[in-house]
Amino acid sequence: MNSRPMSYPDLSTDLGGIKMNNPVAVASGTFGYGREYEDYMDIAVIGAVIVKGTTLEPRVGNPPPRIIETPAGMLNAIGLENPGVDIFLSEHLPYLRDKGVTVIANLAGNSIDDYAAVAAKLEGHAGIAGIELNISCPNVKKGGLQFGTDPVMVKQVVEAVKQETFLPVMPKLSPNVTNIVEIAAAAREGGADALSMINTLMGMAIDIEQRRPVLGNVFGGLSGPAIKPVALRMIYQVHREMDIPILGGGGIMNARDALEFIMAGATAVSVGTGNFVNPRAALDIARGIQGFMQDNGVKQISELVGAAQPR
């Protein structure tokens, strides 16, 4: 470490009201409830821990196989296995709060009422820094079409959740859309404090010996370095058009990747699949960003946000 602490770059950031010590969060569904990774680091040092997606009722998830590796990526079809919001509040949240972890809850549901109900249950519990809305779930009322692909639904679900909570609300946009800017604008109109971008690309794999889809659920979400170029493009497009804090992610493995996202317009970044490859990825990346800032005389991380955008 440097001998002049005064010159330390400042990595702290404000993601639409979510205060983070450093801009590197771990993505929902890839870090459990944090404690799974305690052997490897002090999880309170991580910018933010976005916990596994929570639904109103417990869910058992999809039948296996649930994951399969693909070139520079992986497909998952976990199916939102989780113990439900009550267990989250009684078992996981207190533990994380006591540890001093910056927790972002991740909500999922199949109807607007679902989302609102979970948000209402969270309200008043200390230790939650913000809410991420996973709107890539099928909307049962609209015949399975995903919330995240229809601007009208996106706006409605954000509005409904905002009415139930004082916490910052950050919808997580699906990349499986024609026009990401239109979806982002709808989320913003609904009152989103920040945007999380991007969730997984929908993909599949086929077992040619068995002549059937590999995943129990047929389709799964593609994550990892393979999707990085798509994620960067969408964040760049949205940041170019509007002024809303973005949590950027999709394939981030190292500090260089993270800096690409920040320069595209992300205020903070999330690491998902990268945790499976390096359980300490979030810390290593934060340190790498710090090194880059030192080498390049950047004092505050916000100076780099959107730096690759046209001036």
């Binding site: 799974e36 039948p63 649930r66 590796e69 359980p279």
Partner: protein, 271 residues
């Protein structure tokens, strides 16, 4: 406690047509290993292959801090691993998972291993022998050349019976046939690992005779620590949900697992 450690390859030798044994200097990890646990290994710095690969702890030399792996080359990851040179670094995460329940002093136990499935049984045999147990191993393989592990067990004082599909060594046939000559009453515990169809037969033999038993399962893994929920496996004892092979297992009591013939056939396909 599990940790990350950069180990160093001490040896990486081919022991059969498609099988390798790798010895790794990884003192911190070695000290923590229990029989039946696994290491999660990063094969390359590039992103293809991307995920770590789970491999059982084959043997541990506690004092010298050396861990051995026995692995079969089946795809991209294990092919690359087979190319690792002496002195190369190996990125290890572990030990992970629930290992075998060790027998008490002076018990009499039986191990049944098929193919590379014998891997988790060697260190179990070693620690059981330290506890003065009588240990018998029934070992099955495709051909005699695949039976190299037998001598490592014999050196520990394990009674080894072998079976080969091609008749080139030991009994000519499947390893489960050897159970006919065993009296379950002679043993207090059974441990098995191998192709699912084999484990299904072994497990019903043990259950039929009321013999306590544990087996080790495999499932594709991402995190290895219970965070991703990717390694879900449908097991009787976990219904209506699923077991996580990485943290609830990989070792399960045979009572918890009902290896349906169907599942056995499906999974056997991959062995």
């Amino acid at each position: 406690m599990a940790a990350l450690e950069i180990g160093r390859v001490l040896d990486n030798r081919q022991v059969a047509r498609d099988k390798y044994v790798m010895d790794i200097a990884a003192p911190a990890t070695a000290r923590q290993c229990q029989p039946g646990q696994f290491l999660h290994i990063r094969i390359t710095d590039t992103y293809d292959p991307l995920l770590r690969r789970p491999l059982s702890v084959y043997d541990v030399l506690f004092d010298s801090g050396i861990i051995s792996l026995l692995y079969r080359v089946v795809g991209q990851g294990t092919s690359l691993l087979a190319k690792a040179a002496v002195d190369e670094a190996v990125d290890i995460m572990g030990p992970l998972g629930q290992g075998f329940t060790l027998p008490s002093e002076n018990e009499s136990i039986i191990l049944v291993g098929g193919g590379v499935g014998v891997a988790p049984l060697l260190y179990l045999a070693r620690l059981s022998r330290v506890r003065q147990c009588r240990v018998r191993l029934l070992l099955g393989a495709a051909g005699g050349a695949q039976l190299g592990a037998a001598s490592r067990f014999e050196k520990l004082g394990v009674e080894v019976k072998t079976a080969c599909l091609d008749g080139s060594a030991g009994y000519h046939g499947v390893v489960t046939d050897l159970l006919e000559h065993e009296d379950a009453g002679d043993y207090s515990r059974l441990y098995t690992c191998g192709p699912a169809p084999m484990m299904a037969v072994v497990s019903s033999w043990a259950q039929a005779h009321g013999l306590w038993g544990e087996l080790s399962l495999e499932e594709h893994m991402a995190c290895g620590v219970g965070a991703c929920l990717g390694c879900a496996c449908q097991l009787k004892a976990f219904e209506p949900g699923y077991a996580k092979v990485c943290t609830d297992g990989p070792v399960f009591n045979i009572q918890a697992v009902e290896l349906s013939p169907d599942q056995a056939r499906k999974e056997g396909h991959n062995e």
